[in-house]
């Protein structure tokens, strides 16, 4: 099986989806001739033509709003916001329209769009290019929000997102675009949305993360395993719907939970995970829940971004704290 990068897996999934469904089209800034600034849409224009690979004017609200209109008329637009920090104008369309069209029409109209955007930090990009926005999206009923952390998951989850009858925001960790490599079978098989991935099993502590932060979480799990602790590492992958069962099941066994994400601490999705555990598995907790997150600050520019991102040391320390109390 071919080893590919995460961004190549995205590219393969897009091509596969366009191959199998003539209603799927791709639109966004520089997605055509340029193949996207990260090359996620490379080669699609040559293969599928301008009708299905559309460069848009530079307007995020336009990209999302026009996609809502297309989706409502039966197309399956996969639109791209060039960087997650520029999604904010489009939140109007996501929150007021994409997520509610089904409800507003009692199912007469649906909105099967996918909005892809590179998210998260770590690539020395300018301001606004390194944001983690999943908590905003998690708070919009009617949306789904998914973020892969391996090429295989990027491929399978994106295919499922495109085939999903409802709007899905697909957050692609920029940091892992070329860093994460792995085998991908381009067989058109989707991976289920709303399902977490237990990446490794362990009996002592549950480590839940998603997106780019999975990279450091893996390294921290390695480290703790070297110290003799069993770390159960879970890639949540779907923010909404969130696979609570997998997380609760694990925490009930380990009695300890560390949640890691890049986004700021206050109101981050880690708080939701912690709250669910407090509500539904408190009696099984042997230690306070630990959250390792970005700070409640502006995402720093490249010189300090590594200091902002939860690093292996921080995650390992949280795991040790969780393991120490009983």
């Amino acid at each position: 099986m071919a080893e590919v990068t995460l961004v190549k897996a995205v590219n393969l999934a897009l091509a596969r989806a366009m191959e199998e469904d003539p209603d799927v089209l791709v639109l966004g800034q520089d997605v055509g001739v340029n193949g996207g600034v990260f090359r996620a849409t490379e080669g699609l224009l040559e293969r599928f033509g301008e009708r299905r690979v559309r460069d848009t004017p530079l307007a995020e609200l336009l990209i999302c709003g026009a996609s809502v209109g297309m989706a409502a008329q039966g197309l399956k637009p996969v639109c791209e916001i060039q960087f997650a920090g520029f999604i904010y104008p489009a939140l109007d369309q996501l929150a007021n329209h994409a997520s509610r069209l089904r409800t507003r029409t009692r199912g007469r109209m649906t909105c099967p769009l996918v909005l892809r955007t590179p998210a998260g930090g770590g690539i020395h990009a300018p301001e606004h290019h390194s944001e983690s926005i999943e908590a905003f999206l998690a708070h919009v009923p009617g949306l789904k929000c998914v973020t892969p952390s391996t090429p295989e998951r990027a491929y399978g989850l994106l295919l499922s997102a495109i085939r999903d009858p409802d709007p899905v925001v697909f957050l692609e960790p920029t940091r892992l675009y070329r860093l994460a490599k792995g085998p991908v079978e381009d067989d058109g098989r989707g991976l289920p949305l709303g399902r977490a991935f237990v990446e490794r099993e362990g009996a002592d502590v549950t480590l839940v993360s998603w997106g780019g932060a999975m990279w450091e979480s893996r390294a921290a799990a390695d480290r703790l395993e070297g110290e003799g602790a069993g770390v159960e590492l879970i890639d949540a992958a779907s923010i909404t719907p969130f696979d609570e069962d997998t997380v609760l099941g694990s925490v009930r066994r380990t009695g300890r939970l560390v949640v890691v994400h890049e986004a700021p601490y206050t109101g981050g999705f880690g708080a939701e995970v912690a709250a669910r555990v407090a509500e539904r598995a408190l009696d099984r907790l042997l230690a306070p829940v630990e959250r390792v997150t970005g700070f409640d600050t502006v995402m720093p520019l490249p010189k300090l971004e590594r200091d902002y991102l939860p690093g292996v040391e921080r995650i390992a320390a949280a795991l040790r704290r969780a393991l120490a109390s009983d």
Binding site: L25, R51, R54, T56, P57, A59, L61, L62, C64, G65, A66, S67, V68, G69, M70, A71, A72, Q73, G74, L75, P77, P89, D92, Q93, N96, H97, L101, R102, T103, R104, T105, R106, G107, R108, M109, T110, P141, G142, K144, D164, P165, D166, G194, T240, P241, F242, E244, D245
Partner: protein, 375 residues
């Protein structure tokens, strides 16, 4: 120094020139200002439009009354603006796609949506938006201008499939202050989309007069920068609105791209039933616009060609009242919906968490309702 003059210099070449034309057929007295377009030249082809405008006015009056009796929620009438929704709807084909704002109830009804279905939204439920009208028409947009981009996207879907269909999207003058509306014009221009944008310029946005909305001479010219065809129509002349929109839809269907029509009208009523325009608007201004309203001028024209009579008018008014009453009766006669509809149309498949909330929520709601019932 940039090579940009601060003063217009006559010796610099003019590189672009634009003009805006206003379309008009019937003046406020019902006199013809120019020959009627072929499709509306016969009085029998105009009477359905007249009838629909009278129905709209009858319905609006009823809705205001129902609101006063606390039987209907906040409702915005199209009083004095009926020529816009009817001009637009009558110019469309069934396969065209309507993308309406909250002032186009009459257009929805023209296209086959039931009166009860239209009113259900204002009675507090979306159920009517799963309507008997065209399945491809968009539901009412409460967000001002939020639907303009949907129209552009919908138009692309039609173009994508190579269908000879077009989209008509209606919004108010204030919507043209919004970025999404400009973005929609822009996309429609770049992609030559089969869409007609219709601005209902009723000169007011709640309490904000047009002069505070824009320094632009016309709203039509806001489409010029997007490279789309633009014109102004007398928005109180149903023939002018119909014809301007018909031409735009034909243009779109035949690959000629997008059109912007500014329909110049006037909001004779309060913004909606929750508004009191006396707080901000001189009644003298309203009185000055009353005579130009759209319904009377059509009647005057029909009478002038002996195609109308007091007897037909009485018959029409009775028929409209009966139709409205029947719709209202159907609305209030409908079974109340269970609270489960809150949950049931969010996703094709509910998540486990949503299913849990639905179960627990419905039990809690039932208990609260029961406690309330018992006092």
């Amino acid at each position: 120094m940039p090579n940009v003059p601060t003063d217009p210099a006559p010796d610099l070449p003019v590189v672009a020139r634009f003009e805006i034309r206003r379309r008009r057929y019937l003046d406020e007295n019902g006199a013809l200002m120019r020959p009627l377009p072929d499709s509306l030249a016969a009085p029998e082809s105009i009477t359905p439009l007249y009838r629909a405008m009278v129905l709209a006015r009858t319905l609006d009056a009823k809705c205001v009354a129902l609101n006063r009796q606390s039987r209907l929620g906040t409702y915005a009438t199209a009083y004095g603006q009926e020529a816009v929704p009817i001009g637009v709807a009558s110019a469309m084909r069934a396969g065209d796609v309507l993308v309406p704002s909250y002032r186009e109830n009459a257009a929805l009804i023209w296209r086959g949506v039931g009166i009860d279905e239209v009113l259900s939204y204002y009675a507090g439920s979306e159920r009517g938006s799963d309507w008997a009208g065209p399945a491809h028409d968009f539901p009412t947009s409460i967000t001002v201008g939020g639907h303009a981009l949907h129209a552009a996207g919908a138009a692309y879907a039609l173009q994508y499939r190579g269908e000879a269909r077009a989209v008509a999207c209606v919004f108010g003058d204030a919507a043209t202050s919004k970025g999404d509306v400009y973005e929609a014009f822009n996309l429609a221009g770049v992609w030559r989309l089969p869409v007609v944008f219709v601005i209902t310029n009723n000169r007011w946005a709640i309490s904000t007069p047009l002069a505070k909305q824009t320094a632009s001479e016309t709203l039509a010219q806001k489409g010029l920068a997007a490279g789309i065809a633009v014109e102004q129509a007398d928005g109180n002349d149903v023939v002018a609105v119909h014809e301007a929109v018909r031409i735009g839809l034909d243009r779109g269907r035949s690959g000629g791209g997008a059109t912007l029509v500014e329909a110049l009208t006037y909001r004779l009523a309060d913004h909606n039933t929750a508004d009191d325009a006396r707080r901000y608007r001189d009644p003298a201004e309203v009185r000055a616009h009353e005579h130009a309203e759209p319904v009377g001028r059509v009647r005057r024209w029909l009478e002038s060609v002996q195609a109308w009579s007091d007897a037909r008018q009485a018959e029409l008014e009775a028929a409209c009242s009966a139709e409205v009453e029947a719709g209202v009766e159907k609305l209030f006669g409908a079974e109340p919906e269970p609270p489960s509809v809150i949950f049931d149309h969010l996703y094709a498949e509910p998540s486990a968490e949503l299913a849990r909330q639905r179960d627990a929520g419905l039990r809690a709601i039932a208990a609260e309702r029961e406690a309330k019932r018992r006092g």
